[in-house]
């Protein structure tokens, strides 16, 4: 059973490998985006030592690692799922003796793994050469970061699955998918760390799952969170992971009752 899921990871990984040329330009695109925000932040800092609790150096590192982490956790599972629901092929997948949602998650992981090895790793080297960033010296921090990165992927994938499953309930969930993508970019901390938001917005954002995707792992990586805070950050991610399982299970059950495939 497990080996079937592992095969889904492997197949997606190999599929991505077949189209790897697209990814070389992707690395440059990410470097361009990081560059835009690097200059932006440099101008924002001006003579200021720290803003929102970040030093200028930490901020540059934050921007770089956040974009690179995004390469790993980003996937289009919402689109894939909603397409399969709309064209009805989800019905065929449901008859198989394996969990449809797990298969999707594994395919997403195969894609993420590919990007981690062939995109994020070389990308980080390129970024390190171009921009003044500071990598953590402590190996334990790297370890925690990778654990947190794993949860970034899981939580982002859960949100994608939920968005995709909405196609069962509404005719057109394109708008919802776009909204989700922008919400994740803005509210997870890729373009702006949470600590820059006004107090009232932060109070709300602390109760949303988005910060667990980028802000928490990147804050640990840059050394802004230390000691017990690191453990807390990891705990927040684990709690969100567990909490999001509930609506997914509920949606999936409700969806199966609604499913009605025309023709075939």
């Amino acid at each position: 059973m497990i080996s079937a899921y592992l095969d889904f990871i492997r197949i997606r990984f190999l599929m991505m490998l077949a189209y790897r040329v697209n990814y070389y330009s992707g690395i440059i695109i990410y470097a361009i985006n990081i560059g835009a925000y690097y200059f932006m932040w440099r101008a924002i800092y001006g003579d200021a030592e720290t803003l929102g609790g970040f030093t200028a150096m930490q901020m540059t590192t934050y921007v770089a690692v956040s974009w690179m982490a995004r390469a790993f956790y980003f996937n289009n599972l919402d689109r894939e799922i909603s397409n399969e629901i709309r064209d009805g092929s989800v019905a065929v997948q449901m008859t198989r003796p394996i969990s449809y949602l797990m298969v999707k998650a594994m395919q997403g992981f195969g894609e993420g793994l590919f990007r981690l090895l062939l995109f994020m790793a070389p990308g980080m080297v390129v970024v390190k050469l171009i921009f003044p960033i500071e990598l953590p010296a402590d190996p334990a921090r790297w370890l925690v970061f990778f654990a947190m990165l794993w949860f970034s992927f899981v939580i982002n994938t859960q949100l994608n699955i939920m968005t995709g499953l909405f196609a069962f309930f509404v005719e057109n969930n394109q708008g919802l998918m776009n909204l989700k993508r922008i919400a994740i970019d803005l509210l997870s901390g890729v373009i702006l760390p949470m600590s820059f938001f006004p107090e009232w917005a932060r109070a709300i954002l602390n109760w949303l799952p988005f910060q667990a995707i980028t802000y928490l792992p990147s804050s640990v990586f840059t050394g802004r969170l230390n000691g017990a805070d690191v453990g807390n950050a990891l705990l927040v991610q684990i709690v969100w992971f567990a909490a999001l399982l509930v609506p997914i299970a509920w949606m999936w059950r409700a969806a199966r009752r609604r499913l009605f495939v025309q023709g075939g």
Partner: protein
């Protein structure tokens, strides 16, 4: 004669466009909302950042917002008339270019009209609104000729876009493999949203003379800004636009001449 023909063609295409869109009204609004959400995200970024810092380089918040408002206007016009994002896939790989070339109207005109996308114009209107709001906040003087200048500059900026993306679309005449160059340029374009003065010399040179994205945002917008008023550079906008457009059309023509069809 040629122009009258194009205008009547335009009317026909718009008529067809409206008919299809009225069938799927929800999709229309989803598209509009998605465009606006992306701009809202960028504006939120600006607002949140300026809570931490009084100025970006020597640009105030209202000035940066003013530039962003201007940036939205030509971009909306360009996206309406020159929606070439899927050109390579639809016209070259699937061979629809053959159909275009058997007709008497200009090939680029037809491709543009087939993909006309009026909802994007709403982005331009929002841009005008943002500009007016920033204008009032800055207490800028209003001259009778300002609206006329705005129209001329908008046309210039739009020509920069159309020229560059036409040239890029025409690249697929020479190589039908996905080059990944369009997303690359698209991301560089984002640098034009903010004052180019915050970038280093090399990037400023690139944005002024090689990929003149500074002419779709900050240069023309600074015509109206008293403190940054550099009218000579602003007046270069229509000239640069004309030059880039001429280049784009030249590449297109070379491409069409080379085109041999997909062979199926």
């Amino acid at each position: 004669m040629r122009l009258a023909q194009t205008v009547s063609l335009f009317k026909e295409y718009i008529g067809n466009y409206i008919k299809t869109k009225l069938t799927y009204r929800a999709d229309f609004w989803v598209e509009v909302m998605s465009d606006l959400m992306f701009s809202a995200m960028n504006l939120i970024f600006i607002f949140v950042v300026f809570r931490q810092t009084p100025a970006l380089g020597d640009w105030s918040e209202a000035e940066v917002v003013f530039v962003y408002g201007y940036f939205m206007i030509p971009y909306g016009v360009f996206s309406t008339f020159s929606n070439l994002w899927n050109f390579s896939d639809r016209y070259i790989t699937k061979g629809e270019m053959d159909r275009i070339l058997t007709r008497p109207a200009g090939s680029l005109t037809q491709v543009m009209l087939e993909n006309v996308d009026p909802p994007s114009l709403i982005g331009s209107l929002v841009g005008v609104g943002i500009m007016i709001a920033a204008w009032l906040k800055l207490g800028l003087p209003f001259h009778w000729y300002d609206p006329l200048v705005l129209i001329v500059l908008t046309l210039g900026s739009t020509m920069v876009y159309v020229g560059l993306y036409t040239a890029l679309a025409a690249v697929s005449f020479f190589s039908d493999a996905p080059t990944g160059i369009v997303p690359l340029i698209y991301n560089i374009q984002n640098y034009g949203r903010y004052p180019v003065q915050i970038y280093n010399k090399a990037i400023r040179f690139l944005l002024t003379w090689l990929l003149p994205f500074a002419f779709v945002g900050v240069y023309p917008a600074s015509f109206f800004l008293e403190r940054h008023g550099d009218r000579a550079t602003a007046w270069l906008t229509p000239l640069v636009g004309a030059a880039v457009l001429a280049f784009g059309l030249w590449v297109w023509r070379c491409g069409v001449r080379r085109y041999r069809g997909a062979g199926s």
